[in-house]
């Protein structure tokens, strides 16, 4: 960080102890630095004391109560005013809070599922509320340990980790010893599970129960609690239940595996065609070749194949990608990376990849970085707040290096939150050197759009030696900053044009697991 940025970070209270020490050294050693600091601090203090009047266009919502009115306090002309001054302005502090998530269960598996809420995806944390399944089969794992297999159409209300209600449809529940006491409500009956497996069928206002294993206490309206043991059923006059009506869990798993296999096969077909796109600079589908004895090739399959653009894995290990059988490279250790060398000069770019981020645990978490950071070289990373960060810079005329003043950095909204970690996501960024617009995408959806004030049209984009998942070859004897991605990549495409929002949306839809 340069002096100005350090000063500003200090004024905003966003400075780290290391940066503070650096600032102190700079200020102590240099009168001009102190002068700049005094001017910026004075300007900041003035704005804090006498902010410009509220703009009429700005809605004034939550801020009014906190607006400080010095003058009013000071008008009280008595000794009490001094005491008032002491208490008039209590600063407010945003307490640092522990990260929280809100939920009672997890949607662990889905098969051809269609929900009333279209945003729901497999892997989502489910908060208390009603889940409406139009079709398909889903598996819900309650945080208590109970598991429910639901066949559409069905409506289930999740009350807590220990309690749910079947409003309609067929549900099969498995309760391990740790979740003993799990309650399932249904019209006219409340089922208390004593560690077992049972099925429930609800149609209209009628419920029928069958116990596969263990024991369930059925609390029916106006009746004494009844114990239902393995093999027993509780049928109503209108609704009956038979074990054959319910999908066994093993069958669901078979179906899910079959679906994954189909998705993977479809992807393989599309992937073979995707390499023929003439806009590609390089395309890495992360196919692990059986005959690669060294195990380190990350092949570029953009047609016609430019051999020099093949990548080489360093450290990173092969692991499972989006589907069983699909390979990915996992980046964990500080040395893990995929090395590449991309020649050529371009007017635009699109970077698109499938990545599973396990944790955003460093200040910068690499996606694709060129070795140095010279004029026209793109850097694409995940910033510590979970946003996507794309940057490109051009050194000022006569200067060799890109500085704070010539660096163009673009941040998306934060996209990596505890709920999106550990799952496969599609990331993309586009940039063209005519308009200077940088667009960033997360799962096919735009999450950032910006043009830098520093943009000047027509300046070229270059790559050269670069890598995925890490940054830079350390020069001999030097320490290097750790920017390893904590996660896995299973597809990476680099284009020399801007792909349209529709194309990126399709890429996400067709490639999602």
């Amino acid at each position: 960080m340069n002096l100005e940025s350090l000063i500003q970070a200090k004024l905003d209270g966003e400075i780290t102890p290391e940066q503070h020490a650096e600032l102190e050294t700079l200020l102590r050693g240099n009168g001009r630095a102190r002068r700049l600091y005094l001017e910026l601090a004075d300007q900041h203090a003035r704005l804090l004391q006498q902010p410009p009047p509220l703009e009429s266009t700005t809605q004034q919502t939550s801020g009014t109560s906190r607006t400080v009115r010095w003058r009013t306090a000071a008008l009280v002309a008595s000794a009490a005013a001094i005491v008032l001054l002491v208490f008039a302005l209590r600063p407010y502090h945003a307490a640092s809070r522990e990260a929280t998530s809100y939920g009672a269960a997890m949607l662990s598996q889905t098969l051809d599922a269609e929900f009333a809420q279209p945003t729901i995806r497999s892997g989502d944390t489910l908060a208390p509320g009603t889940l409406t399944l139009h079709k398909g089969v889903v598996q819900i794992e309650f945080f208590s340990g109970a598991t429910a297999l639901i066949e559409g159409s069905a409506q289930i209300e999740i009350i807590s980790a220990w309690e749910a209600r079947c409003i309609s449809g067929r549900v099969r529940v498995h309760v391990p010893p740790a979740a003993k006491g799990f309650l399932m409500h249904a019209p006219g009956v409340k089922l208390e599970d004593l560690g077992t497996e049972f099925a429930l069928n609800v149609a209209g206002q009628d419920s029928a129960v069958h116990v596969f294993d263990g024991e369930v206490i059925a609390h029916a309206k106006d009746k004494a609690p009844a114990s239902l043991k393995a093999g027993m059923s509780l049928n109503s006059t209108k609704t009956a239940v038979s074990p054959a009506d319910f999908l066994p869990i093993r069958e669901l798993q078979t179906l899910i595996r079959q679906r994954e296999k189909n998705r993977f096969e479809q992807w393989q077909q599309r992937s073979a065609g995707a390499g023929e796109d003439t806009r590609l600079i390089a395309y890495y589908p992360f196919k692990h070749w059986e005959d690669d004895n060294w195990d380190r090739m990350v092949n570029n399959l953009a047609q016609p194949v430019v051999y020099s653009r093949n990548g080489g894995a360093v450290g990173a290990r092969w692991t499972q990608g989006r589907w069983p059988g699909k390979e990915a490279l996992e980046f964990k250790r500080p040395g893990d990376r995929v090395r590449m060398n991309l020649d050529g000069t371009y007017a635009a770019l699109t970077l698109a990849c499938w990545v599973k981020v396990d944790s955003v645990d460093k200040k910068y978490n690499s996606l694709l970085l060129t070795d140095g950071y010279e004029s026209g070289e793109p850097h694409w990373q995940i910033y510590e707040d979970g946003s996507l960060m794309f940057s490109i810079g051009y050194a000022a005329p006569g200067e060799k290096r890109i500085t704070f003043k010539t660096n163009q950095t673009y941040y998306s909204q934060p996209v990596f939150t505890p709920d999106s970690l550990g799952r496969w996501h599609h990331l993309a960024v586009t940039y063209d050197n005519a308009s200077g617009t940088v667009l960033q995408y997360f799962d096919g959806r735009e999450v950032g759009r910006e043009v830098s004030v520093l943009h000047q049209p027509g300046r070229p984009v270059v790559f050269g030696p670069c890598e995925l998942g890490n940054w830079g070859l350390p020069t001999q004897g030097h320490r290097f900053p750790i920017r390893t991605l904590n996660g896995a990549i299973d597809e990476f495409a680099i284009y020399q044009s801007v792909l349209s929002p529709a194309e990126l949306q399709t890429m996400f839809e067709q490639g999602k697991p």
Partner: protein, 177 residues
Amino acid sequence: MSPEPASRTEQLVLLLTQNQEPLFRYIFSLVPCEADARDILQETSLALYRKFDHYDPSRPFLPWAYRFAYLQVQKHREKSARSPLLFGAELIHLLALEREQIETELNQRLQFLDHCLRKLTQQDKELVTSRYAMRESVEDMMRRFAMSRRTLFRNLELLRQRLHDCVTRQIQSEVLS
């Protein structure tokens, strides 16, 4: 009862009211953390109240008040000496000394600041309003402007940098023309 003490108090309240803003700016330049600077300003106000008998009304108030403020800054430093986010005593001394030397210029800069604030873009104006006038929390601002924390602070940084550059240009053109 003599009317003297009451009128002395009134006199101090008047002086404090008139000089609160420059006094805060002085303290803030030595302890650039708003909450701490406010606490120190309040401690300084009390110290001035206690020592007001020694004040010679024929002399300017601010330089006299700065001495108390400086002492309170030192006290604050000693109290929280372990904090890694405080300037060292030596640097504070240098800053206090140099600030008094350039105070006229700093005041002059602020006269141009209002002009430069009016020239800001609409989005920058809204940023200034929400940060300084409405005092919105960082979280509220992130939501309102749909920016990440990093982008928000970066935008604020660039905005203040532009203001500073604008003021500098104004002063230079004033001097040149």
